[in-house]
Symmetry: C2
Subunit: 327 residues, 2 copies
Amino acid sequence: MKIRIAILGYGNLGRGIECAIRQNDDMELAAVFTRRDPAAVKVVSGAPVYSADQLLQKKEEIDVLMLCGGSATDLPKQTPEYARYFNVIDSFDTHANIPQHFAAVDQAAREGGKVAMISVGWDPGMFSLNRLYANAILRDGSDYTFWGRGVSQGHSDAIRRIPGVKDARQYTIPVEAALASVRACENPGLTTRQKHTRECFVVAEEGADKARIEKEIKTMPNYFADYDTTVHFITQEELQRDHAGIPHGGFVLRTGKTGVHGEHNHVIEYSLKLDSNPEFTACVLTAYARAAYRMNQEGMKGCKTVFDVAPAYLSAMSPEEMRAHLL
Amino acid sequence: MKIRIAILGYGNLGRGIECAIRQNDDMELAAVFTRRDPAAVKVVSGAPVYSADQLLQKKEEIDVLMLCGGSATDLPKQTPEYARYFNVIDSFDTHANIPQHFAAVDQAAREGGKVAMISVGWDPGMFSLNRLYANAILRDGSDYTFWGRGVSQGHSDAIRRIPGVKDARQYTIPVEAALASVRACENPGLTTRQKHTRECFVVAEEGADKARIEKEIKTMPNYFADYDTTVHFITQEELQRDHAGIPHGGFVLRTGKTGVHGEHNHVIEYSLKLDSNPEFTACVLTAYARAAYRMNQEGMKGCKTVFDVAPAYLSAMSPEEMRAHLL
């Protein structure tokens, strides 16, 4: 029998999960749930679409519920609410609020006897795992995380809120010289400006003052003021033609010393280069859905993060196949 | 109370573990066991040195026993033998024999109520983990592993067996063009020759026929014949000065496609650049010693690989600290 997955929220992440399920033979998409009018939501796979209000009625038909809402307002409410009734996965990424999110979800999942995986994706997620492994191995060392080259939705939105801006796309770019210095075990102390640059492609409204827009972007506190920022004005057609994708990625590095006198240097590096940020995130969530289902089948319950999941739970292979082909 | 680690076999790996323990506050080196005359073994830390015959007598003073022997003859015998009495870690790396090693160790560890971790290190080990994670995430894709630039002991030994060779050091080097093609998602089908080159530094005995030695190296089946091999003749002094280290490393990549029509490419890459292969391997073994001890304290037993270990067991941090600082 296949693992029956349901999706709550059919945006970029939900669509990505629908695609990912089609690449996993041991899973099926049971249903999509939406807060919009279900009749207005067209899904690629032909799975049934229901109103979010119907979720509890369909409880017996769902093994794992994928929560595809946002971290700001959706997930803090949804994950504890549904962890009582379903094995759930979310991609909660507001780092500062993870302890309180964990506590709320853990209580609900324990009471419901379910497994709830929070903060799954690539950062938090795969990047976190690599930070943990590298820290456990190289005890005397330094950590570095670089993001990009990729689209930051938050920074693109910030530009779009400036008067006179019709549309915008912002790329976060790691500074090559900083990466090179880390890889050379120079242990650089890096400022915000030394780690990343920001490149903005902006469509201005007709007659807008481009010099003012550029200045407003470059001096915007938190978002751009601490970075070397480049602004390009382009047409809406150019934006659609050249910047329609949602690529992202990044690098997690740890450098460290070993030996009787710390005489040997080591570099551990993990990197991602992703054409589609939401589709890759969806693939990670889907692998953890398999783990959540299996762990719950074994009697586990409560809130889990990627740190709590033995890697074998993620793979559809048998333990014997894994040892033969991957070890 | 600290985790009491014992080392069996005080070669490069054993010495590396001794160094690694000094970087982990929650561990102590209880003793070193050797098959040589204990009086002849000088350890850096001042820990007691005993004969391997005394291991069972010291059973109550040891939480985890690190088996530092070789995969060819030592570990197939030692790991099942000691897994009955100790939580053990080994770095068994003969891929083809892992199933049978696993079975023998699993039986002994279950009967003894102990946890036995086999095939720990970086390949098998961290590279295996990265193959598993990447395969679970990107279902439609291709795997690539490259090794080097690093010293291959087996290939260095093979050269030293040629008549007229006094000493030798062999480096395995990944081919940059092949790496670039993989990273560009070109899914290349790569022959042995296209993936790695081999570079040999050879000290010839006085009067030896260098042309014959070079030819014997380059045509040696399995070891060199399938590779583009370069041979440099150098002096013993140059070998000691420039090639005394044991660096290694490599790259694990998986590329894959997602999307409704597989229209998006993704690259997951993990790499290591190690000044000291045995010291890094020792650090990995030491982290898994912590995991073995904790898992056994929780009542687990039997043979485990890196696939079976939830990452949180590896870190000395509390779950709350991990979520706050690494997630």
